[in-house]
Symmetry: C2
Subunit: 139 residues, 2 copies
DNA sequence: CTTGCATCTGTAGTCGCTACAGATGGTACG
DNA sequence: CGTACCATCTGTAGCGACTACAGATGCAAG
């Protein structure tokens, strides 16, 4: 009397469509044990549950926010053990935020340098390109 | 009567020290033909010229500015052919600048999202961590 | 029953390095 | 001249996070 509604799970293609995660990547996540091994049809095709779909979206969203696979694994382990320590998650987020800020600072410096270089360049087909000169010059 | 001063070139360690490029990386650049094959001592050790040192610094500086190996290869090809088209170099720089700006924009969005998530979290060991919730929630 | 897309496994490639292992080169000191 | 010892050599494998095949099946619609 169970398993009548929703008896059939999501095949991998549906998972991919729903989450935007590439099929190959989903299988990769299984290989590295970020996603569990799903049920299989008689023929051997993967059949995912709705919970697994949510898990994959979680991974996707976290990746988009720049968390590493290992960071995500840590968070999911807590979720799996039902022992989510908000403190730990907060700490991870803050640390990650720090590295994002750092990257922004770094990229802004690049932006500056590149803008300066581009501005100095007359764009003509002259032999001495100021950009190349800048890059080649002794420190 | 030639080759008396500067007869001995720079060994790879000196190149590394001068430019800050890792020794393994210098050999890697040779393998992928970004750096030329240098002369060798009788025993087989690499001996670089001053021009090659400058070339390596060029690569280093360009890498620091975020240019890809292929972009650098393109610039160096122009330099090697002595047909530096300032227009092309300028175009590459501007395009690269565009992608840097894009990255900054992207990271700022992340910064926002992460800041928001971190702020909502009470850090307590409560069962429902707002960060995890946010990441898990349906779109 | 056939067509044809979806999915399967397994392996190798991507980028830009980095890290070995195990064998020589080169040089300073006694 | 020998020896100690660092520098350098080649070649291969690993990293992170996928991506891209090849070649074999599954499965659903007409």
């Amino acid at each position: 009397m169970a398993d009548i509604t929703n008896a059939r799970g999501y095949p991998i293609g549906a998972m991919s469509r729903e989450t935007g995660v590439n099929i190959e990547t989903i299988r990769y996540y299984e290989r590295i044990k970020l996603m569990p091994q799903p049920d299989r049809t008689a023929g051997g095709n993967r059949q995912y549950t709705h919970d697994q779909l949510k898990r994959l979206s979680f991974i996707k969203r976290s990746r988009e926010l720049g968390f590493s696979i290992d960071e995500i694994r840590a968070m999911l382990t807590m979720v799996d053990q039902d022992g989510v320590s908000c403190g730990e998650v907060h700490a991870m987020t803050v640390e990650h935020l720090g590295s994002v800020k750092e990257k922004i600072r770094h990229l802004k410096k690049l932006e500056w340098a590149l803008t300066g270089m581009a501005a100095e360049c007359a764009k003509g087909d002259v032999p001495d390109c100021p950009i190349i000169e800048t890059l080649f010059d002794e420190r």
